[in-house]
Amino acid sequence: MDKRVIPTSAQEYVATLLQNKVAEPLSEDALKELARLYSLLTEGLNALDAFDLSRVEPAVGFVMAEADRNEG
């Protein structure tokens, strides 16, 4: 993906989503930057579809498993 191209849909998504989440409206430039970052991130996460993650447990559990481990 060309990093300079920001899909309009991404910018619309970001603008809509953030409407009630910030004290002051974001500038056009800030929205564009967020849309660019979100598009890149989504592209990166979509690449994870190359793995079969359907049977893999989310890692949120490993942290508690470590805490519960007790060698004593």
């Binding site: 910030v22 592209e43 996460l45 447990e57 890692a59 942290v63 470590e66 805490a67 519960d68 004593g72």
Partner: protein, 475 residues
């Protein structure tokens, strides 16, 4: 011992002198306070200096030691804390305008433990706002300066912690590491930074960035000092359910110089791509050196690691947004623009994306654990670049262009995702005189292994003996 010499001696060297009553904790503290007063205006390492409190604690330490009540290697040692650790009655800014007047009403567990060990708190240290960045660029309090070159970044987010330690403004410090924030500034500032296993150190009273990636760790001038600091803060904590019950070993007993037969894995992908040539050469030389000491070095492969940045960004950003969601609704304009952007990126992440990233994280962790079943530790560069200029957000490596703020954490983030213990130890300098860091990664709760390898390397090389004292600003 002269004042300058005292300021750059190690905790491990000074502690026996204090125990034998040959050096006074009050004198040690005064030396550091004098240096802070004289030099902090240039370095911007400290946000709050606890002069009276530190001197009072030093007097108490001295009286106790004179009465024969020596507590251990941190008794009478002045240290400092990144300004996201709560100290009761002391300002807690997190490097942000938003918390400029916030005063903590309790001590973080690690603060309680350091006080119990007899350490004196010199003050609170500058950082990347809310720890959400690897540079320590700070629009509110100014950017801390790298002591090896004041025009360059110290790295972050625990930038003030690294600067204070490297510049002799504290004997050791604590930082936090969510994507590399202890190891990056340690590497760029020429000191040791240790990120323990997830759950090894309590985070009670530590302002969170990303709950599943946050780690507390020490920054020190030597590996032995990092071991001493970790010893004081590690262990379970009823106030933090993520703090592990795994037995805390004696870390100083791990400090051995013999690495013969230890198996070290060098990942063949990712960590040596898009790396500055001087950094690559320094790290390869360090690996060769470990091999010459008798370590068995072999190539390993972590195929899925290429996807670590997207998945870790999704996790950290989503978790950080959850922490700041309410404040963004009322004071979004008071955040620095870079941190506001990163926080709002977290607001955009869907639950399905977050879970996908967490599933990938399990896969990556298992891949690394499988490799660590065959080797004792992994070795990589800590950062792929040396310290860059404060005013240059873009760097070039070969014919490629990189955003410093993103590229700086490329080699450290994988181990926040996997929770593995990781240390950065100085392994040389670029032709420009900038420090290079070697990263050593071990199995869960085997901090002893990474300390062992780091110590053996450190003790057989001269890098830890160099301090940035050649700059006239230090005299």
């Amino acid at each position: 011992m002269k004042a300058e010499e005292l300021a750059f001696t190690s905790i491990a060297e000074l502690a026996p002198l204090i125990q034998r009553k040959e050096v006074s904790p009050v004198d040690v503290t005064r030396v550091h306070l004098d240096r802070i007063e004289r030099l902090n205006g240039q370095f911007l390492a400290y946000l709050t200096v606890l002069k009276d409190e530190a001197l009072a604690a030093a007097r108490n330490a001295e009286h106790a030691i004179m009465r024969g009540q020596y507590r251990g290697p941190l008794h009478g040692i002045p240290i400092a804390l990144k300004d996201l650790f709560a100290v009761k009655g002391v300002r807690l800014t997190c490097g942000s305008k938003i918390l400029a007047d916030h005063v903590a009403d309790k001590d973080a567990t690690v603060v309680t433990r350091l006080k119990q060990a007899g350490a004196m708190l010199l003050g609170k240290l500058n950082m990347h706002e809310f720890a959400w960045g690897g540079t320590s660029l700070n629009p509110h309090y100014g950017t801390p300066k790298n002591p090896w070159d004041l025009t360059r970044l110290p790295g972050g987010s625990s930038g003030g912690s690294a600067v204070a330690t490297a510049a002799g403004l504290a004997m050791g410090t604590l930082g936090t590491d969510t994507g590399g924030s202890v190891r990056i500034p340690a590497s760029l500032s020429g000191i040791v930074g240790l990120k323990p296993t997830y759950g090894r150190v309590s985070r009670f009273g530590v302002y969170p960035l990303s709950s599943s990636c946050d780690h507390v760790g020490p920054l020190a001038r030597t590996v032995a000092d990092a071991a001493v600091l970790l010893q004081a803060i590690a262990g379970p904590d009823p106030k933090d359910s993520s703090a592990s019950h795994v037995t805390v070993p004696d870390y100083t007993s791990a400090l051995k110089e013999d690495v013969r037969g230890l198996r070290l894995g060098v990942p063949q992908e990712y960590f040596f791509e898009d790396v500055e040539p001087a950094v690559r050469d320094g790290v390869y030389a360090a690996i060769q050196h470990l091999s010459s000491l008798g370590a068995v070095v072999e190539e390993v492969s972590i195929p899925s690691i290429q996807h670590v940045i997207a998945s870790s960004t999704a996790i950290i950003a989503a978790e950080a947004y959850e922490v700041h969601a309410q404040t963004l609704k009322t004071r979004s304009q008071d955040y620095g623009s870079d941190v506001r952007t990163r926080l709002l990126l977290g607001a955009c992440i869907q639950a399905s994306q977050y879970l996908k990233a967490q599933r990938f994280r399990t896969l990556l962790r298992q891949e690394m654990l499988d490799i660590l079943g065959r080797v004792d530790a992994l070795v990589t560069p800590t950062t792929l670049i040396a310290a860059s200029k404060i005013d240059e957000p873009i760097i070039h490596i070969g014919d490629k262009e990189f955003v410093v703020a993103a590229h700086i954490a490329r080699a450290t983030r994988p181990f926040n995702m996997t929770g593995l213990p990781t240390i950065s130890v100085p392994c040389g300098f670029t032709p420009d005189g900038l420090p290079i860091g070697l990263q050593i990664i071990g199995r869960p709760f085997e901090e002893t292994t990474v300390l062992h390898v780091a110590y053996a390397y450190e003790q057989s090389t001269p890098w830890h003996e160099r301090h940035p004292t050649s700059h006239k600003e230090f005299l």
